[in-house]
Amino acid sequence: MSNNSKPVTNRRAFVQKLVGGVAATTVASSAVALSSAETPPEGKKAKLKSYAMLIDTRRCIGCHTCSVSCKSEFDVPLGVTRSWVEYTEKGTYPNVSRHFLPRLCNQCRHPQCVDVCPTGATYKRPQDGIVVVDSGQCIGCKYCIQACPYDARFLNPETKVAEKCDFCIHRVSKGLVPSCVNSCIGEARIFGDISDPNSEISRLLTTNPTTVLRPGKGTEPQVYYIGADHSDEHENNRGWYDVRITTHRKEKGRR
């Protein structure tokens, strides 16, 4: 990341040029919202962070504690999920295995949801790379829900705006780790700043084989996995072995 003192993405810059006055007020109002969420260090130029998560699926036991703590952290309504754990079952006895895949918003480097948002309600925070939704701006058009290759977004049935995991910015900005990381009993989730080479996540990322989900979509996810099973039910078409996915999301298959 460059050392831009002025935190603007390209799209925001474009917007400001295009409709200076009105856009400026919008940007300013969201900037006020930002500054209340995170207070940048005084004096020296704030160092840009890049938050990421590494999930060591070998340590995951599929207990759903992360899902539950996320639900209670945000009071997520019934039937929708910011964080969930998928079970993948492969094969038939005796050649059979089961894997767990904790899922959440991938906080992509190139988030499609941001590209398609018509109001600028969803944007990638330049200071830490977290993709957020300004629930005061969102009109609930559901374009971002369509555009997310990970099905990480949903329309909150109570507030009627788009919602998704935001790496618990309210906790992270106070120096805590996200709720799911905090509650994980297997310590399968490692959260940190990958722009800091000395962070634990940087050390683990560089010393382990890791994967991301749907790399072909070009989104460059910032949620990495160790030992993730990428099997999908599509493989059943080949007829060689059986793949069963349980998403633990109400009436939702994997997209």
Partner: protein, 313 residues
């Protein structure tokens, strides 16, 4: 179980906005064109101008109440960004305002080709033709912009939606013509009517042929590639979940049958310069079939895009 994030209101909007924008675009082009339509130029343009804004506004009404926060629809106009929906909303907004003004120039008492509003009318037509194309094309771009939805992720979808919109527009003008223009006993007006019907039907046949070509390319592209798009395309290929609707209603009822009937109607004059006669039953049935096809096209495309997904995690 796949839930439809964008359901019937969005599908209906795509169809209605396309048809209305198509009708106004065709109306504007007919008005601006010298010759061809001759004396019926004004009445054909009036048909398109008067019916065009209605479906667009109806569709917009549907789409606004499809939003999670309908009262915040104004947020769309706080800025323009590069989201197809943002640009499309601006297009739609300006289009509605101008197309209503354009329709009003035809509704004023004593409106005729040479009245005092003719300059305004022509000016509006010059703006509305590209705007109407913009409204028709953006819906396809909006769907095509998402790699997460492989079925839609094709630039040619925008071309398909545009041609379908123009064709539905022509169909609605023909239908309106049957209702409002056909009755006249005056021989001169009758002959003008026949002439304009001939031109409209010929243009419609051309548009439908273009649509068939684009659908062919759309399917061919799906066939020639591998991966997500190839698998997604299975939804409308024979054996797929949407195949019957697509091939039966979209291609069969909506495109092939109207094209064949229209060609039979216009070929004698087009090739051998024989006399062209309109047939009322066909003038009603063919546009209706085209409109059914146009709606089913939006339906199959929008649903197929949402029941298919990338195949690898």
């Amino acid at each position: 179980m796949h839930e439809l994030t964008w359901g019937l209101p969005v599908i209906a909007y795509f169809f209605l906005a396309g048809m209305g924008a198509g009708a106004v675009t065709v109306s504007g082009s007919v008005l601006l064109r010298k010759g061809g339509f001759g004396a019926s130029r004004f009445s054909v343009a009036r048909c398109g101008a008067l019916i065009g804004p209605i479906p667009v506004m109806l569709g917009t009404f549907l789409i606004v109440f499809e939003l999670g926060q309908p009262l915040r629809a104004g947020n769309l106009f706080h800025l323009i960004n590069l989201s197809p929906m943002s640009i499309g909303s601006w297009f739609l907004n300006i289009f509605i305002i101008l197309s209503v003004l354009y329709a009003m120039t035809f509704m004023l008492p004593g409106s005729s080709p040479g009245d005092r509003f003719s300059q305004v009318r022509r000016g509006l037509a010059w703006v509305l033709v590209p705007l109407g194309i913009g409204v028709a094309v953006y819906t396809g771009i909006m769907l095509g912009a998402m790699p997460a939805r492989p079925f839609w992720n094709s630039p040619i979808l925008a071309a398909l939606f545009t041609l379908s919109a123009l064709s539905s527009g022509v169909a609605s003008i023909i239908l309106a013509g049957v209702v409002f223009r056909r009755k006249s006993k005056d021989v001169a007006i009758r002959s003008d009517y026949e002439n304009s019907s001939y031109l409209l039907i010929t243009s419609d046949a051309l548009l439908i042929a273009g649509e068939l070509l684009v659908i062919f390319l759309f399917l061919l592209f799906g066939h020639l590639t591998i991966g997500d798009i190839k698998y997604a395309m299975l939804a409308i290929l024979p054996g797929g979940q949407m195949a019957l609707l697509f091939w039966g209603l979209v291609v069969g009822v909506g495109l092939l049958i109207p094209l064949i009937i229209e060609l039979f109607q216009v070929m004698p004059k087009l090739l051998h310069n024989r006399e062209f006669k309109t047939i009322v039953s066909l003038e009603v049935a063919v546009p209706l079939a085209i409109l059914i096809g146009g709606f089913t096209l939006r339906y199959t495309i929008v649903v197929a895009g949402q029941i298919t997904a990338p195949t690898t995690l």
